[in-house]
Amino acid sequence: MSIDRATPPSPTEPRPYHFPHITRTTLPNGLRILVAENHNAPLVSLRALVRSGADHDTAQTAGLASIVADMLDEGAGSRDAIQLAEEVGLLGAALGTGADWDATYVSLDVLSRNAEPSTQIFGDVTARPTLPEDGLERVRAERLNEILQQRNEPASIAGKRFASLLYGNGAYGNSVVGNADSVSRLTIDDVRRFYQQHYIPNHSSVVVSGDVDAQTAIDLVTRALGEWQPGPEPARPVLNTRPIDASRIYVIDRPQAVQSEIRVGHLGVPRSCEDYFPLSVMNAIFGGVFNSRINLNLRERHGYTYGARSQFAFRRQAGPFVVAAPVRNEVTRESVSEMLSELRRIRTGDIEDRELDDTKSYLMGVFPATVQTASDIASRLVDMELYGLPEDYFDRYRENIAAVTKEEITRVANKYLDPDRVLIVIVGSAKAIREPLGGLGLPVHEMDIDGNALPVA
């Protein structure tokens, strides 16, 4: 029996997908609760979202928000750090805390049979941490060593320098983890003050997802967090950005490097941008997926890199737009040049039908595969809360992507991409790449990993 192998088989009728039903309520103290039931696996995911993150750090307190997050499991309720870890382990749970630019998160994943006692621990970590002084010293020492280790990590250096050149030392410009000076200076009073100002229920949400019924989940969270005291909501810090007047190359010298870690980009847009959907499609075509232009060019056509990508960091305020790739030293100039020419090309309106159709159907079709777990669903609800997305956001996602046209892609590419005003940050061996980079006709500045200018070699 022989079959036609030359033609790809046609699909059958699609089966419908529905995002889980979301039950919402708000407690008298202002805490918003969202529950999504999903009984496929015997697991429950709890997430707390506090709507303050490293964007509240200043040049002097860089690292504070994430240090406070790290302090949450240094003791909570009546438990010290070790007792807390033991109790979490005995319940078959995994506890995590952390902060990024926009928010602070507490997560607890647990076997559903232990959801009840785990929710109490989760409440203690979120609303009743002890924030002990010796805990700060442990967290500080660990952080300082982490910052030290990052000095040898090319991707970390590139990210820090890029952010610093784009935002200066205000919000989004420091590193979330801070720097050695700022972290050394933080006091327990700084930690407790930040906690008191920002960790308040009317500035927070709790999400429960997985194998628990909605009313039980709400009762458990109410018991654990109903007494959490509200307070005045903190104001969102102002973002200072520095306009880029012309493209410049910044080489951060790492003499022993065998690859150049490249970042090309500029200011992006906030998550609330009205052009979010056309921008998402445009970025996917440009560098957001494996078969994007930038990866097919640098990896599959030229073999310059293991992977090239681009991203709009959609945050509550305008995050960066960045094209990134590590490439071998010998092709650094060529790689930058290809990135710039792809940026120019996507603004010309040169978009193939197939490229647009493939990308839209990818974005529309892939959603169910990305929300298979209780934890995935919880993360989506956290995003919904953090960015203030409408209640029908996930139900209307497909039609919003489907509506994007070629004309809109060209429009947003012209509006939000500016290949003539980019920061080009390259962490690599200055000796190996300096001369070829000169051929790009752009000013080249050399600096050390802390951003100090190096004398012209």
Partner: protein, 420 residues
Amino acid sequence: MLSLEEYKLANGLRVVLNEDHSAPLVAINLWYHVGSKNERPGRTGFAHLFEHMLFSGSEHVGNNEHFRYVQSVGGVLNGSTFFDRTNYFETLPSNYLALGLWLEADRMGWFVDAITQEKLDIQREVVKEERRQRYDNVPYGTAFERLLHLAYDPEYPYHWPTIGSMEDLEAASLDDVREFFRTWYAPDNCTLTIVGDFAPDEAKRLVEQYFSEIQPRGSFPAFAHQRKPLSHEQRETFASQVQLPRIYRLYHLPKMGEPDWVHADLLTTILASDKASRLDRVLVHEKQIAQDVATYILPTEATGLMLLQATAREGVAIEQIESAIDEEIARLAVSGITDDELTRAKNRAEIEHAHQLETFDARADLIGMMSTYFGDPHKVESWLEPYRAATADDLAHIARKYMIPENRVTSLFVPAGSAA
């Protein structure tokens, strides 16, 4: 309980079906029983380079079209290579099951005439960049490679990491690609697992339709290597571009699935997992001499290994870290572990297993592993039984029998310029 259905096609392809309609998705996962342990010295890294080639098109699928077919319908896909196996997988909207099977069958049966020197040259460069990015240009990047060199004699194929060496990657030829394909890639060396939203009869019909005319190979070269036991601890100190010293250890173990391997897996949780685990508590939390500690074992088929690593805080000598580790292991070997520790370790195993079964793709991968290493996909259902049955003494026994100098190798990474 999972509902697994297992059968074989006439050409030897083992098929495992797990029907689950909880999401409109289908995960397709193929485990080929070939990995870097089937390479020879001089061609290290080849199994993995070959995996890259298998994404570069086959007779009816153009270069880069494999990715395009899957992504353009909302699918996700990848492949990976390790010592003992190579896997290829995609998760698709369930109405595209036939598309996924068509793609996988084409590269299983109609690959070898589609390869070109140009495709090989590009993928060779991509893999060399992968090696630079993950091994050569990052701190501690070569630690695993160095441990393997110390732990296994040069003839034993776990001596080299899956990525291989730059020289060997350079040497790989188009003839090597053809020969490797003809030796290893065949239905009778593969398990095809399908998990998700499908009708079993329809899935069986499609599998038969796309795979049945691919010829079996009949036999495969046997793995005949025996690991030579160490006579004494192998050690080295390696100065490189790191900020903080770090100790890396490898302890030899029986192969995956043996009782002692399971007990060692549980022991890693007790040694280093959360703040209450032994090494974390003593080295990081109390003495504050270490930045981090980690222990884990890898799913290996030929022989087992446990890895341990710990990073010294700034200003702390790596020797101090090493003595503190050995002190804790000795304490555990002598005094054993508590019931609470055992419960926590078993809980962790249970939650990790539950997470692996939670998604269609991870579940399919686990089934493929059980089928490939143990010849029994149903082992996925009984996997936790030996974990549940383990006793405190079983775990202390691991520390006494395996975590001893004659059974380990040690690599000390120290900052360049500070080494003696």
